[in-house]
Symmetry: C2
């Protein structure tokens, strides 16, 4: 029989995943009926690459640059100024600039229909390339994680993507990249208004956002169950992982083939040790990282 997780190296992480899935799918005391087999995965840094910047940040920054091109007076204002000046420090301190960022997001995407937004997202995925890998963003999914999603689906799990980022952004590529249909993409989003037969995005944000303690809330409201299996990579995934029977934490420790960083994952790594979550080392547990991209090429490009 073919190895269902052939892109995973033999080791503790692969063993724990296979053993858990067997325990809940085979007859015995641990059996869980298919209806209760909910799996949830964070997206940025768990299913696809989030460095050197979030994919959706690239989308938003391009839009802000285009707005400045159309109206140069905007270049004096934040958040446009930071994008035009390439001010990484300002942009990295996102949490200190929430009002400006929300204003910029509202100006960029508020007041348009969900359909118009989708057209822009599709254009981005067609045109944009990952800054270091050079590939379309639809190819920056981690091959072993895509294989894991498929393996869970084969075992009658219902897999949901639970992104802290934009639900309607990820939905555009979720089916193509992960085989996850639109109704199984959970994430943050704007408040919407229905008028004249269409749905309009507003400048307001639906609460709670799908991050931290908001993740188990979103998972419940969308599925009516706690996750049986959850996968994440950062501190924003702690509550989701804590609410799951099996928690998988992706550790970014592979500077050669991807990026090595623990920033914003320090607490999650500490909790993993305490709570017995399975840690997947990208360096040791992933036999390959990016689908359809030769590891040597990726490594060379990613070393920036």
């Amino acid at each position: 029989m073919a190895d269902p997780l052939g892109t995973w190296r033999e080791g503790a992480a692969k063993g724990a995943i296979l053993s858990f899935v067997r325990s809940v799918t085979e007859p015995g005391p641990g059996f869980v009926p298919p209806a209760q087999r909910i799996a949830t995965f964070d997206n940025d840094g768990t299913l696809w690459c989030e460095k050197p910047l979030y994919v959706q940040a690239d989308f938003i920054f391009r839009k802000w640059k285009a707005m400045v091109a159309a109206d140069p007076s905007l270049a004096a204002e934040q958040p446009y100024k930071a994008v035009v000046d390439g001010d990484r420090a300002w942009l990295a301190g996102m949490l200190d600039h929430v009002p400006e960022l929300l204003k910029g997001l509202g100006a960029a995407f508020g007041g348009i229909t969900t359909e118009a937004f989708e057209t822009q997202v599709k254009g981005f995925f067609t045109d944009a390339r990952h800054p270091t890998l050079g590939t379309p963003y639809t190819q920056v999914g981690y091959r072993p994680m895509l294989e894991l999603v498929a393996f869970l689906e084969t075992n009658e799990f219902k897999v949901f993507i639970c992104t802290g980022g934009g639900r309607d952004f990820v939905r555009v590529v979720g089916e193509e990249m992960y085989g996850v249909p639109r109704e199984r993409v959970i994430g943050s989003g704007p408040m919407l208004e229905f008028r004249d037969g269409a749905l309009y995005r507003t400048a307001g944000v639906e609460q709670p956002i799908d991050d931290g303690p908001g993740k188990p809330v979103h998972i419940w409201t969308r599925t009516g169950r706690p996750p049986l299996f959850a996968g994440g990579n950062s501190d924003g995934d702690i509550e989701m992982l804590a609410s799951a029977r099996f928690g998988l934490l992706v550790h970014h420790d592979d500077a050669e083939r991807e990026f090595a960083y623990d920033v914003l994952a320090e607490r999650a790594l500490a909790e993993a040790a305490q709570r017995g979550w399975t840690v997947a080392s990208m360096k040791d547990d992933f036999a390959t990282v990016f689908e359809g991209v030769a590891p040597s090429i990726v490594g060379a490009d990613a070393r920036t």
Copy 2:
């Protein structure tokens, strides 16, 4: 071949449903891929009986009565007073008493876990009987509508329940009554908080509620698509029906076998004529109404 809608009488409504489903599932210009076949149904008055009072109202009123039994001083306050006194006029004017009702709901079900709420709902469905039909509430689903739900599922539609009432209330029986799994029940609900590994209901209500213009918003946030097929019965379903390719409006015109009323459906009936929605007359189009209940007995009991 067996008639897939055998509990529907031959007529315009059944013909329109069969013709539409054929047009989107068979090869041809109208074909719609299965991934896009989303069907959404209102619950109260569309899938199950909402008279003489909403099923969930019975659940809530029983709880308020139990609260008064435990603390008789509550009997002087609204909304408890109206329930204890059987003040139908006060209760019927729900929209005039929103603050009192929300306070009563918060006191009854706020601060408890989703699990504790579910235990209460299960107890209600075990103990309570429909006041005129005398059957458990799990038997007050309309047989022809359940058959329609199954028919759509057979034709690779994904059927969602989109209730103006409580999502977590309907989820408890959605699978058993309709074959609709928990993750496909969309509805109104409280704001939730995750702490100490559990989800707690708060006294706040998630906005927008799943009624009127909130329905297409909920459907989008949960499915990422507009409905291809939608079924409703009242004014609160107008926007959902308007956002669907095929709209079905259940008309309560059968005083013998169910209840005859147009209250809160006047606008919907007028819109149906204008927009070409299919109207299902319970009297003329339903060959039977309640599953497993002899029509003659139901008729006798329902004439109150």
